[in-house]
Symmetry: C2
């Protein structure tokens, strides 16, 4: 199978659903028609063999995970996914069946979340390297950001923290949409509670008091605080807004130096996963 045949096959697999995609796989660019009154949310994320996943991970799982990570950011912005582009490099010895299995995994999640595979780029490299770019949509001016938390807001998280790093990712898209127009700030927990809460506070120019950490069975507090790969939503609600089902109140936003997180009477260092920590 050469590239033209592979692209033809992917075009067939990606199906007919449009979601604003006027022209998809098979041209120089994909063409997307936005709806009036919507802002678009853009996110790119990398998934690299031996960095983000082991060589032994099945291609279906890699494909699903690559899309899921980017969708988690769309969820954090309160958005609705529309389409994605996928840049994939694979070793020359991988069969076309491997590539098709990768896309089957990715397209399974794409189908469940209404995300159209609109295009991409294929190359050969020494190991598997994937970048997924997702386009989502939200009502004009309603995208959730990290920047709106205010002292007095209450801090919540979905689910429990400290999951095994290879647990299936379920992007919290339904919750994100419910938070749109309610939450003052939101971020997805990809790099660990301590680092991601620090980021939210820094962008909002506030501090936080962390009071409680919901931990998955068998995980340590250390892992729940700093482990990353949870893909839950961390968000803030003003005091008058009722908590949402399935979420846990874990603290409050307070005045203080931008980015400071207090926990058990001490400053919590932002020690989550930082690719570029010196």
């Amino acid at each position: 199978m050469n590239e033209l045949e592979l692209v033809d096959q992917l075009r067939k697999m990606s199906g007919r659903s449009r979601r604003g995609v006027i022209r998809g796989i098979g041209d120089d660019c994909a063409v997307f028609r936005p709806k009036t009154g919507e802002d678009l949310l853009l996110k790119t994320d990398q998934l690299i063999e031996a960095v983000h996943f082991p060589k032994s991970m099945p291609p279906e799982t890699i494909g699903e995970r690559a899309l899921a990570r980017a969708l988690s950011d769309i969820a954090a912005a309160g958005g609705d996914p529309r389409c994605c582009l996928v840049a994939l490099a694979v070793p020359r010895k991988k069969s076309e069946q491997w590539i098709l299995a990768f896309f089957r995994g990715l397209l399974g999640l794409a189908g469940r979340t209404g995300t159209v595979l609109a295009g991409g780029d294929l190359a050969h490299d020494d190991k598997v390297h994937c970048s997924v770019m997702v386009v989502g949509a939200s009502k004009r001016g309603k995208a959730l950001t990290r920047a709106g938390a205010r002292p007095g807001d209450r801090l919540y998280v979905s689910g429990k923290l400290g999951k095994p790093w290879d647990q299936k990712i379920e992007p919290r898209l339904a919750l994100g949409r419910r938070l749109s127009g309610k939450a003052t700030a939101c971020i997805d927990l990809s790099d660990g509670l301590s680092l991601d809460l620090h980021r939210l506070c820094k962008e909002s120019r506030v501090a936080a008091q962390l009071e409680y950490v919901p931990i998955v069975r068998g995980a340590s507090l250390e892992r729940a605080l700093h482990g990353g790969e949870d893909y839950e939503l961390l968000f803030t609600l003003p005091p008058h807004v009722k908590p949402l089902a399935g979420t846990t109140r874990i603290g409050a936003i307070v005045r203080g130096n931008a980015g400071t997180v207090w926990f058990e009477g001490e400053k919590l260092p932002p020690r989550g996963y930082d690719h570029f920590a010196g």
Copy 2:
């Protein structure tokens, strides 16, 4: 410098120009506000060390080239670039100065073409691996595609072919915009005339008669036909449309099997650069 500091630095370097980017670097998603009556053009492209460029290439050149390749596809769609996302993986031993130099190169071209750096993702890997995603815009329904060429149309190319593979890429954005509403089909020559003309003809369900190949000084006909990395535009105009300055007529669209290209009395095999040719 850790990731937070590096991202802060990139945010400063990316400047204040908006181009519809309501929220850029530093949040889970970038937020982009489309203009009414516009379609968006989406393109992603990979640039990999030891595959697309040698280890010795300076970071500024890699950064510029990574963006230029994606902008060439926006040009082929007759679009106007708006913003880009950059997923970059670099070896741990590269300094932050290397990364900042990469982005200086990229942002130089971004500034000249009105492309805002709206976000991205940084990771460590064994070697440099970059994916750039560009969002462009065109008037609703006016995006050029590969699919509209008709028998009787004339075939044109910008510039001359067979360039050295590492020549500076000048995306033909001004030409692309002039072609919008005039050309019946357009593609950028990234993989070689023989393969890209085959693709244009296949999508348009027509054949082509290639009559003349403009060759850069010192290059062979073989290289001009099959070499790739030219980043010129190949396009078709109906017979009544006047040729555009700086472009060369190289043949005509004819009836025939979809994708067939005739040259010097024989079928020209699509032999350009195909990452996945068996």
